[in-house]
Amino acid sequence: MTAATDTDDTADYVRSAARFLDLPLTEAQAQRVAGHLTRTKAMVSLLRNAPLADDLEPAEVYCPAPFPDADPEANAP
């Protein structure tokens, strides 16, 4: 795929995705956004080449509750 085709495809993607998300874009904006996305895509290609095992889960951030200090059985009657 040539660089020009890749850029055109990215601009097409931007227009379609923006419409899908109800995000109005002028053609000039779409072209600028496509430029940013093309640069990010080049960075993503680095990550694509990094081997990640299927069972590698995302790093956790959110913790729904503190881990309890005692086992539930400890307070059982």
Partner: protein
């Protein structure tokens, strides 16, 4: 400008009234801020009320809290009761005023510090230069034609200009470390999850950190100590108790005993300009650091941080982008939109990589206690510059200022940025990152204090 703790000590022993320390700062702001543009809001009535309360407390003979009378200001993404938190954006004008202070502001208030106002920043923290189109660029106090760095540019510039001895900022990809480097002040990005972010406007929840700027390491440590503490209401605050560090910074010649200190090579050398390399070598020589330590996966980590930032930032603002994109900062609106449109696979891949990356970084810290790297590739660039030259290659100026800071924050490691002046005090400063393993802020501060004590790192007030 005297340091924050020297003010608090003088107030405590009755050598200085908190009200006089405050008026000194107000006068300095009046004399310099039309040129620097660090402040977006002044809270003078509140500040005078807080200072008077400290002076009254002392007059009664009541014990004073540790930062009594210390004037400070915060990046305008921290909630300040009674003000609308704009986060550098005019899109948020008209939003309701905050009904309470951010938790870190509450903790500084409880410690006796006196809040003077809010500070300039890149819109929604998406930038490294604080060229804010809505309120004007924050100017570097050491050269008013150059950027202050960002996104916490006002926070660094206010300290460098001698307007206040202490400020708070936020750091997602370098937003404390970059402006600290360019303005020649000390800045601290704690471990991810150390300080609560509750009451601050978010940018990238999975990477956002908050931390202080100051002209001395002691002020960083003292303010950090009073801001520590658990907060069950911030899901990203993982600290369960306070681990005080101030005492660790005053170990004198013993400060480096037993520490294994290395200087990062590879990616961090390749992406540093000659002045940045000279600065980190100066620090390494002073510390007897081992050169050419390799940080794992630095380029991948920067890519993953970039993707994560764009996705989370874009998603956060999508509703506003649908209806008010024209009011966003022109320098960042297209990047926010691009982030909102990124495929989910990119984001999930970045987050999966992050887990692996964390393991690799933790493994590195079994061999080292503290690692050094430049904070920015170059010194402050001219306001409006689109590119700068980095080792013979022209690179885009605004994103490239974060080349050396992004991999470190993506691992969540604590960093103290120390200001060096490799071309002399008449020229521009540049910072060095003093990096420790997660939860070891004490080590980074010890090493930073040693560099300050031997005169390698210093933060003189700019001549304005």
């Amino acid at each position: 400008m005297r340091s924050g703790l020297s003010i608090a000590r003088a107030v405590r022993v009755g050598e200085l009234r908190a009200a006089d320390a405050l008026e000194h700062c107000i006068n300095r702001i009046a004399a310099t801020d039309r040129r620097v543009n660090a402040f977006t809001d002044l809270t003078l009535e509140r500040a005078r009320r807080e200072a008077d309360a400290i002076d009254a407390q002392r007059a009664r003979g009541a014990p004073l809290p540790p930062l009594a009378g210390l004037p400070y200001a915060v990046k305008n993404l921290f909630d300040i009761e009674g003000l609308t938190t704009r986060a550098g954006s005019k899109v948020r004008l008209g939003e309701p005023a905050a009904t309470a202070d951010a938790v870190l502001v509450q903790r500084l208030r409880d410690a006796g510090a006196v809040l003077l106002g809010a500070l300039n920043m890149d819109e929604f923290a998406y930038g490294f230069t604080t060229e804010n189109s809505h309120v004007g660029p924050c100017r570097n106090p050491h050269d008013l034609t150059r950027v202050a760095g960002g996104s916490s540019g006002g926070s660094a510039a206010a300290v460098a200009a001698g307007q206040v001895p202490l400020t708070l900022g936020s750091d997602t990809n370098g937003s404390i470390r970059v402006p600290a480097s360019l303005c020649g002040v000390f800045g601290m990005k704690p471990t991810f999850g150390r300080l609560t972010r509750r009451g601050s406007f978010p940018f990238v929840a999975s990477i956002d950190h908050l931390g202080p700027f100051a002209s001395t390491v002691e002020d960083l440590a003292a303010s950090y100590d009073v801001m520590q503490g658990a907060d069950a209401l911030d899901p990203g605050c993982h600290a369960t108790r306070v681990q005080p560090v101030l005492a660790h910074t005053e170990r004198g010649a013993d400060g480096l005993r037993g520490l294994r200190i290395g200087m990062l090579g590879g990616y961090f050398d390749e992406h540093a300009g000659p002045v940045a390399r000279a600065a980190v070598r100066m620090a390494a020589t002073a510390l007897g650091a081992t050169p050419d330590v390799v940080w794992p996966d630095a380029a991948l980590a920067r890519a993953a941080a970039f993707v994560t930032t764009a996705s989370e930032g874009g998603a956060l603002h999508l509703a506003r982008l649908r209806t008010r994109a024209a009011e966003f900062e022109p320098l960042s609106v297209d990047r926010f939109i691009a982030g909102a449109l990124q495929p989910a696979e990119w984001y999930v891949r970045a987050q999966r990589f992050r887990r692996l990356y964390r393991e690799h970084v933790q493994a590195l810290f079994t061999e080292w206690d503290v690692l050094l790297a430049p904070a920015t590739p170059v010194q402050a660039t001219p306001i409006g510059a689109e590119q700068f030259e980095l080792n013979g290659v022209m690179v885009p100026a605004r994103p490239s200022l974060g080349l050396l800071s992004q991999p470190i924050s993506f691992a969540g490691c604590p960093v103290v940025t120390v200001p060096l002046w490799p071309m002399g005090l008449h020229a521009l400063p540049i910072g060095v990152q003093v990096i420790a393993a997660p939860w070891r802020e004490d080590l980074a501060l010890r090493v930073a204090r040693t560099l300050e004590a031997v005169g390698v790192a210093r933060a003189p007030t700019a001549v304005l």
